[in-house]
């Protein structure tokens, strides 16, 4: 059974601080995706990482895929109140039709 462990589950920080969210698994995934979910809405894709060791940047967000394609991290620099939300990592196995295995999520609260 493929599982993704995401940590921390909750994070409350002040505006301007940096933070890192981790996503770890014992399984290898074809790709790993990061989503952000607002209350009452479905998850929205932020980034997909495919290659081991890959680093992608999206403004103040930096995503890394581990060399072995089993883990990933999301780093936010100088967090803003608009970053508040639920962040989800999800692994995809294209040999299994691309279904996503999600982590438990990280509830981020950025206070002014």
């Amino acid at each position: 059974t493929q599982l993704l462990e995401q940590s921390p589950q909750f994070l409350s920080i002040q505006e301007g601080e940096n933070l890192t969210v981790y996503c770890n698994s014992s399984s290898v995934f074809s790709s790993l995706q990061w989503y952000r979910q607002e209350p009452g809405e479905g998850p929205v894709l932020l980034v997909t990482v495919v290659t081991g060791g890959e680093v992608k940047k999206l403004k103040r967000l930096t995503f890394q895929f581990g060399d072995a394609r089993k883990d990933s991290s999301l780093h936010i620099t100088a967090a803003q109140t608009g970053d508040t939300g639920l962040y989800l990592c999800a692994g995809a196995d294209y040999n299994q039709g691309g279904k996503l295995i999600f982590g438990q999520g990280t509830e981020l609260s950025v206070k002014p």
Binding site: G42, P43, Q96, L100, G105
Partner: protein, 112 residues
């Protein structure tokens, strides 16, 4: 263009009743996925359609759950003899290629 839509947005029912949840995918998307998200958790895979056929239904929790996609577009998730534990947000996602999945806003099901 229009995104994935789901109806109803909210459904309240009584234990033992039958419910149907509808998903309208993005036009032209051949693959459709259903997930279930319990409070404070990441989404869990239920079933995946490629065209009209269910390619993987390994996530359906038991035989009270059934889904169809008769014309390869709209899909309906059907739950018989609902139980309080079925209360969750049911998410639908579609994709043209099996990679990036586009999620709908979800249906919030509450079983009293």
């Amino acid at each position: 263009g229009a995104g994935v839509s789901q109806t109803p947005s909210n459904k309240v029912t009584e234990k033992g009743k039958y419910v149907e949840l509808r998903c309208d995918p993005i036009s032209g998307h051949t693959a459709l996925y259903w997930y279930r998200q319990s409070l404070g958790q990441g989404p869990e895979f239920l079933i995946y359609f490629q065209g009209t056929g269910a390619a993987d239904d390994s996530g359906l929790p038991n035989d009270r759950f059934f889904a169809v996609r008769p014309e390869g577009s709209v899909s309906t998730l059907k739950i018989q003899r609902t139980e309080r534990g079925d209360s969750a947000v049911y998410l639908c996602a579609s994709t043209p290629s099996g990679e990036t999945q586009y999620f709908g806003p979800g249906t919030r099901l509450l079983v009293l």
